[in-house]
Symmetry: C2
Subunit: 473 residues, 2 copies
């Protein structure tokens, strides 16, 4: 298809591949985790201190066993999702320490906020999966908060969810809770029920927490997104060409480890690299460089036959304003069009990941709905074109009262749930509201109307007991 | 390239083509203009009253002479633009009766507003052409306002501009003014210096004003966008498949007439059809159906080897809020990516064409800049990837102080002129402004810093005298 965005040739992709292979072979990647290093040694890799060196054949072997798609099972089987190839999922924002309210006041996030995001996800027509740490609750003990987040994910929402990669222990506890929810270890060894985010520490490193989690999750057949977030000009080269090579090396290194742990472990090729703002030295995720990277990452993942992660509704704006709308729409539509499969951060993020906003969540969610609609192909059957009707209405006729219009008018078009189509008088009469103000009311309505999805009370008790026991241990 | 947006197969496009041919042959198109009807008769078309019937060979002949690209010359030759194939232009909003201010107060537009938009266009790094009737000045006599608009376009801005299609007389006066500006009729018969918008009156009609203008402009080698704006479910079928067929018939009918008037007259295949909002009965231009249509129109125009028009930064929102940002970004990026060549309404539109906003103009303009940047391919030369540097920085190193970062940091990344990358403390200190408030200040600064481009004073006087004379006639 004609597109003014850059299409990588096979030669381009091979060049990025070769550059990454060179780095993996000569510079290597540091894995700050003994178990991880031992796995590499056991598989005959050259290891020097914490540095691991890869041969191209090692990476190729991993790419042969990594699946090109997988299902993430939900406890409500109707809500299971497919990740890979043409299938993709929208997920909420991730990792924000603050909540920004509609008045522009920021505050530390609480467990109640986290639960409220779970409730919005549960009631969302467009968010396909529950996330992880949409906000970091400051009112919960740091050491055990992952247990509470898992519990909320499992009880407040019956969609598939993300897992806890904060440490090996936390990852394993997440797996144990999933085993309770599904009724036994053998149940989840058969099916992937969570996806966790494993970030590299650019350039060319992985922390012990991330590698410990990756090993624990891959062993248990739980999916890992292996992602690199390079700040071009800071933690990586100032050129996007250099970023492509560097992130490719990091991602392939992590994916190779996952396949050594368990052949066929579901993995996702991920990146959210973007530009450093040269005035402030901070990461900019409203920058067009983010979308350029997203677009190329989608292509590189397909080159490797892997599902991809990039995205999402990202912005540097600190309020739900026109800047937030523009930047989020550019990045999210780019990710969705580029074939990205796991679109994290689709909804809610403000200020370069610093905060989540309930109002922005709803605006972004509507955008997700618009995007899904845009991808539905226009039907060109004889019945859809209906030349007879066009001839019948003829020159200067009108279609409004035609029976076909009556028949289809409720189903043919996308119906916005938030965006306003009021005319100027109706808009003025309703108080000239900006959309974030409309969203503020809708958030309250959505939360008030929320109903907890049914769950076997024995399982709920077992999960709650598990969390209590672990907390007091 | 992989894309989740619909790709029309050759068969799909032929189906849309055949449907349009059937309509043109059997139902025909009404041209409410004697001169137009006479041209068709003289060329052997079947004409019945005001209805003209087309054979496929008539359309094919027109498509053979219509150019696939053309230059629009600016009086400042550095600012001439190319329309067609990979080349495209961003233009401002068109036809809004109101100005919406930053406080949400609407008022009737004035000539001063029109001039201010000309000044913003002149000083814009991203808007390539001046428009036409960005706003309709309510303080000027209706009969002669086109003269004032032409004069402002020519004097306040030295970019190429759009022409006046409000009537045959107005179109010819625009041509005469262009002759003064360029120094004689022969000058503009050689080169296209304006592009005018000729809209059909759906379904299957053209008004006398539009046809009179089209004939006058095509005769004088001035470009015409032949565009159909169908409201699906109102002035056209409720299905987008039906809309594609109907608009194709209308556009090809207009283009055929232009080629009968003058073989090789530059024409553009245009559409901004969208959905009717079934709750209000009004056109929705924030609807995803708009972008679906844009995406398909780009493909149909390429099928015919014609430049295309669709777009742009369109929204139903009545203020420059997150909805305006999302909707405008979705439609504008879709148009630019789809290969659309003439992207009208790129900047400023609010409320489904009811108003222009100076603040939104600046937000949309920044989006145009982001889009241009996104299309610049990432360099994958050895120098751009620079493996030696990546190896040198190595594991855990940093790139911020590397000489290459210093060398490239000012040129490698897009530098926003409006969008904020402030951190939360700096943003709070600056008053927690939404971007429309920042834009309000920037509009004032831009207008204050505006300088009228140089022009030969004799030509300026001749143009001013022409307008005065015509007004008093």
């Amino acid at each position: 298809m004609y597109d003014r965005m850059q299409e990588l040739s096979r030669q381009d992709m091979e060049k990025i591949h070769d550059a990454a292979m060179d780095l993996l072979r000569t510079t290597g990647v540091a894995f700050n985790d003994e178990e991880g290093l031992q796995i590499f040694k056991d598989n005959g890799f050259k290891v020097d201190g914490n540095k691991v060196f890869f041969q191209e054949s090692d990476v190729q072997k991993a790419l042969e066993t990594a699946p090109k798609r997988f299902t993430v099972h939900a406890r409500n089987p109707k809500k299971s999702v497919e990740v890979g190839e043409d299938d993709f999922v929208f997920l909420p924002g991730y990792g924000a320490p603050f909540v920004m309210d509609a008045k522009g006041n920021e505050r530390q996030a609480t467990m109640e906020d986290y639960d409220n995001f779970c409730k919005l996800i549960q009631t969302s027509p467009y968010i396909d999966m529950n996330g992880w740490m949409m906000v970091e609750p400051a009112d919960m003990p740091h050491q055990t908060v992952h247990l509470d987040l898992n519990l909320s994910n499992m009880l407040l929402c019956d969609k598939p969810f993300m897992g806890s990669p904060v440490s090996k222990k936390a990852a394993l506890e997440g797996v144990e809770m999933a085993e309770i929810l599904w009724g036994g270890k053998e149940k989840i060894m058969d099916k992937t029920v969570s996806v966790s985010l494993i970030n590299s520490l650019s350039p060319l490193q992985f922390s012990d927490e991330m590698i410990g989690s990756l090993i624990a999750l891959a062993k248990n057949n739980q999916a890992c997104v292996v992602a690199s977030l390079i700040m071009a000009g800071g933690s990586g080269p100032v050129t996007l060409g250099g970023v492509m090579a560097l992130q490719n090396a990091e991602i392939l290194a992590g994916i190779t480890l996952a396949q050594l742990v368990r052949k066929g472990a579901p993995v996702v090729y991920g990146s959210t690299s973007s530009a450093m703002d040269m005035k402030t030295g901070a990461l900019s995720i409203g920058a067009p460089e983010l979308s350029k990277n997203i677009h190329l990452v989608g292509q590189m993942a397909r080159f490797y036959n892997l599902p991809s992660r990039a995205g999402g509704g990202l912005t540097d704006a600190l309020c739900t304003d026109a800047q937030a709308g523009v930047e989020s729409a550019v990045a999210l539509t780019t990710a969705a069009r580029a074939g990205v499969n796991f679109i994290l951060h689709s909804c809610g993020i403000l200020g370069s990941y610093i905060a989540m906003s309930f109002e922005k969540f709803l605006v972004d969610e509507e955008l997700c709905g618009m995007i899904r609609n845009m991808f539905k192909p226009v039907s060109l059957t004889d019945d859809a074109i209906d030349l007879d009707m066009i001839k019948q209405v003829g020159i200067g006729g009108q279609y409004l009262t035609h029976p076909k219009t009556f028949k289809l008018c409720r189903t043919e078009f996308y119906m916005p749930s938030l965006m306003s189509r009021k005319n100027k008088d109706a808009w003025a009469k309703a108080g000239k509201q900006h959309i974030y103000q409309v969203a503020e009311d809708k958030v309250a309505q959505r939360l008030a109307a929320y109903e907890k999805p049914e769950i076997n009370p024995d399982i709920e008790k077992e999960l709650t007991d598990y969390v209590e026991k672990r907390k007091t241990k």
